[in-house]
């Protein structure tokens, strides 16, 4: 029984922590939040230079050939630092999709470039409000030409290609679409978290190439989201813990009635409850990491469990962090809102808590029926 990260993985974490402490303090996330740049380009270059984008890509495609456990470590630390780069879109969504469903030729074409950060990928799924429904996808591909619209695509304004869910001849399918072609129009969209950029995409007869088995779009997307959910859950736990630590530090330093507010039971217990939520989420994340990295059939249950508890923990920690800060907490000047915004963005980006709770019970039902 060894249910912790290995020594090597913890060394990688230490390196990540010290790199991010230096290069990605919260002021970097704030700079993107307040400015007009969609992401921090210099930081992204450093990150690709470090090889983080190559983590799970096999060596034959110029990757590092490491396991998903290493990627989970990085995800947690990037989540903690709120690092404003397209890491999640390019790795958890695009790279994962190609690794899992791509042909040899597609891997050859994209993985090397992804590993070296020469291209940025993403996934384009939602078309309108409401829970995603495979039966309501309007985008469609005929004769390898995609038309339709996708909204709120993460990093959609900067990505070079996207994994797109669209109707095909054989039914709902996934497609790889180069976003730097004439048939693609991008419109940047402001969200609750401007430290991460989003765009609506309009496709008009854009070239599209099938990814994975035609007609299996719903199932492939579900598999992709399970994989991404584990990785995002680590980002969420990292962020939740950072928010809790921020609250703890403030409460220890802030005095009222002659003593640190951290000594009042209302604050003590609030922080303890945050800690409990994070522990539950972290443990579920480890289970998810194990399932993802070992290719275990438990992945759907593990991913949903990690996702739900990580979303809950981040929400609680981000909201209550502000509450612990009192008046200062809701000023623009203090950093509390950076976590508050990111928590909400991450909570909806793969479908909300309700959606994932339902996926969890559905997975349990099919496991137990089998």
């Amino acid at each position: 029984m060894n249910f912790e990260f290995s020594e090597e993985q913890n060394m990688l974490r230490d390196q990540a922590v010290s790199f991010l402490k230096d290069k990605s303090p919260l002021s970097v996330a704030r700079k993107i939040l307040e400015g007009n740049e969609p992401y921090d380009k210099a930081l992204w270059k450093d990150i690709t230079d470090l090889g983080w984008t190559a983590t799970t890509i096999p060596e034959k495609y110029n990757g590092l050939g490491l396991s998903h456990l290493e990627l989970c470590v990085l995800a947690e630390e990037l989540g903690r630092a709120l690092t404003p780069v397209p890491f999640s879109s390019s790795l958890y969504l695009a790279t994962e999709a190609i690794l899992a469903f791509g042909t040899d030729a597609q891997k050859e074409a994209w993985l090397g470039k992804l590993a070296q950060g020469q291209v940025i990928g993403t996934a384009a799924v939602a078309e309108g409000p409401g829970e995603f429904s495979p039966t309501k996808v309007g985008a469609s591909v005929k004769a390898n030409r995609l038309s339709g619209t996708k909204i709120m695509v993460p990093d959609g304004d900067i990505a070079d290609f996207a994994v797109v869910v669209a109707g095909g001849d054989a039914g709902l399918s996934l497609f790889l679409v180069d976003l730097n072609q004439p048939g693609v129009t991008r419109t940047s969209v402001a969200t609750i978290d401007p430290s991460r950029s989003h765009a609506n995409l309009a496709f008009k007869d854009a070239e599209a190439e099938p990814l994975g088995k035609a007609g299996e779009g719903a199932s492939l997307l579900s598999q992709l989201f399970d994989r991404a959910a584990v990785l995002f859950a680590f980002e969420q736990v990292g962020g939740a813990e950072a928010a809790m630590n921020q609250a703890r530090e403030y409460a220890l330093g802030r005095y009222a009635f002659g003593r640190p507010i951290a000594g009042f039971q209302a604050i003590k217990h609030k922080l303890a409850r945050m800690y409990v939520a994070i522990q539950l989420a972290r443990s579920n994340c480890y289970y998810g990491a194990w399932a993802l990295s070992s290719g275990a059939p438990e992945l759907p249950v593990a991913a949903a469990t990690a996702r739900v508890s990580a979303s809950q923990a981040y929400r609680e920690c981000a909201e209550e962090n502000i509450q612990v800060h009192g008046g200062m907490g809701f000023t623009w000047e203090f950093d509390c809102h950076l976590f508050y915004r990111r928590a909400k963005l991450l909570a909806v980006n793969l479908g909300g808590e309700s959606t994932w709770k339902n996926r969890l019970i559905s997975s349990i039902e099919s496991d137990r029926a089998a």
């Binding site: 409401g130 709120m152 209302a266 008046g327 809701f330 000023t331 909400k344």
Partner: protein
């Protein structure tokens, strides 16, 4: 038990309704400057017609009306979207304090202009180091001849940038325990050395200000209450704050209900989803509970009773509910729920905007935790928190700095 007015109340309501119908300006979207102008115009109109500050004595610009009548007018006025915000603090908090502590001349000089809206007042109490510990304020006042000289900083001052006057609590003696060394003044916000800076909130808005005092001089004649009695005077002001805090406002059931009718889950209307229904029902029960709690308070007013600290439940329940509804609705919409582009977003971005505003609601005017303390101590009679600073000279109380 009924919702109907007594015959006298009904008559009063009829008169209020008729006057409002004839005179209330139609709702417009104001720019920030227009808003203030419109607010002053409306206040003056009410004043001239005898509908301003109803409970005040006639000599100060009021009408000498009963609490129930004032409540009825407020209810009827609330049916229009009128610009009344800028006067809430001056009329609701500064005025009662002036009535209790100012000289007759001062009352005659200031109260009618407060009633007519000609002059706007703000409240300068909170400080950066204070927070929930309101009395821990540090802004110094030092006597110098007939004047006092003020140095320090206030925070969370609504309307400071457009106010003409302010009520101010200062520390005149740091060598005595916290509550004993305070002195209370009012001053012109145009005084030299007063510097107002807006505070940008998470939501991007700036409803509050920081106010800096650098060698600001206040005549001793503008002191309210005795030297060192500032805390007692403050309690008069604060008692009236509580009555002014409502429980409504913010995103509510209706928005969530409308969204659930419109959106789909699993190919069916979201409102058919029992998880959504139960969540909605929960909020409905809270809103309904708050609404009828206000009705009970209203009844108490009608009977001439003073509403007590039990009104803290409105803010406590309401603020968290707004945050939860905003969060829930965004998730119901999915990714598009966090969109903040006015033209693209659902409800013009109201949901993320409300979610960003909600933390302020849970904090400003007393945090959730302070509300619970108030209920516990002042309604249920439970012991106060242990006070380690009790009896210690203010400048010897640990501050962590």
């Amino acid at each position: 038990m009924d919702f109907n007015d007594t015959p006298e109340e009904a008559k009063f309501r009829e008169a209020a309704r008729a006057w409002l119908a004839a005179n209330a300006p139609k709702h417009e979207a104001y720019s920030q400057e227009d808003f203030l102008k419109a607010a002053k115009a409306w206040q003056l109109e009410k004043y001239n017609a005898g509908w301003a500050c109803l409970r005040w004595p006639v000599e100060y610009g009021g009408r000498g009306a009963s609490a129930a009548e004032a409540a009825i007018f407020a209810e009827e006025e609330a049916k229009y979207s009128l610009p009344t915000g800028p006067f809430t603090i001056g009329q609701g908090m500064a005025a009662p304090t002036l009535m209790a502590y100012a000289t007759d001349e001062q009352k005659k000089r200031y109260l009618p202009k407060l009633a007519s809206g000609e002059e706007i007042w703000c409240q300068l109490f909170s400080e950066p180091a204070g927070g929930s510990d309101l009395a821990a304020l540090r802004t110094r006042s030092v006597r110098d001849g007939d004047d006092w000289v003020i140095n320090g900083q206030k925070i969370w001052t609504s309307g400071a940038h457009y106010s003409d006057f302010g009520i101010l609590v200062t520390r005149s003696d740091p060598n005595v325990p916290k509550h004993k060394g305070l002195t209370y003044f009012f001053l012109s916000m145009k005084s030299p050395g007063v510097d107002v800076k807006p505070i940008k909130q998470i939501s991007g808005q700036s409803g509050f200000n920081e106010v800096y005092f650098t060698d600001v001089r206040i005549p001793d004649a503008q002191r309210l209450g005795e030297v060192g009695q500032g805390w007692t005077v403050s309690l008069t002001t604060l008692m009236n704050e509580r009555a002014a805090i409502g429980g409504g406002g913010g995103l509510g059931f209706d928005t969530a209900y409308a969204l659930a009718k419109e959106l789909e889950i699993d190919g069916k209307p979201a409102i058919a989803d029992r998880a959504v229904r139960e969540q909605l029902a929960d909020w409905y029960c809270k809103e309904s509970g708050l609404q009828f709690t206000r009705a009970r308070t209203q009844s108490a007013l009608s009977r001439g009773e003073t509403p007590g600290p039990e009104n803290s439940i409105g803010k406590y329940v309401g603020a968290k509910k707004t945050q939860d509804i905003a969060s829930f609705c965004m998730e119901l919409i999915g990714m598009a729920g966090v969109c903040m582009d006015k033209d693209l977003a659902a409800l013009g971005g109201l949901l993320p905007q409300s979610y960003l505003g909600a933390p302020g609601g849970r904090i400003a005017g007393g945090t959730d935790e302070i509300m619970l303390n108030i209920i516990a101590e002042r309604v249920l009679g439970l012991p106060q928190d242990i006070r380690v600073d009790k009896g210690i000279p203010f400048n010897e109380v640990p501050t962590g700095n």
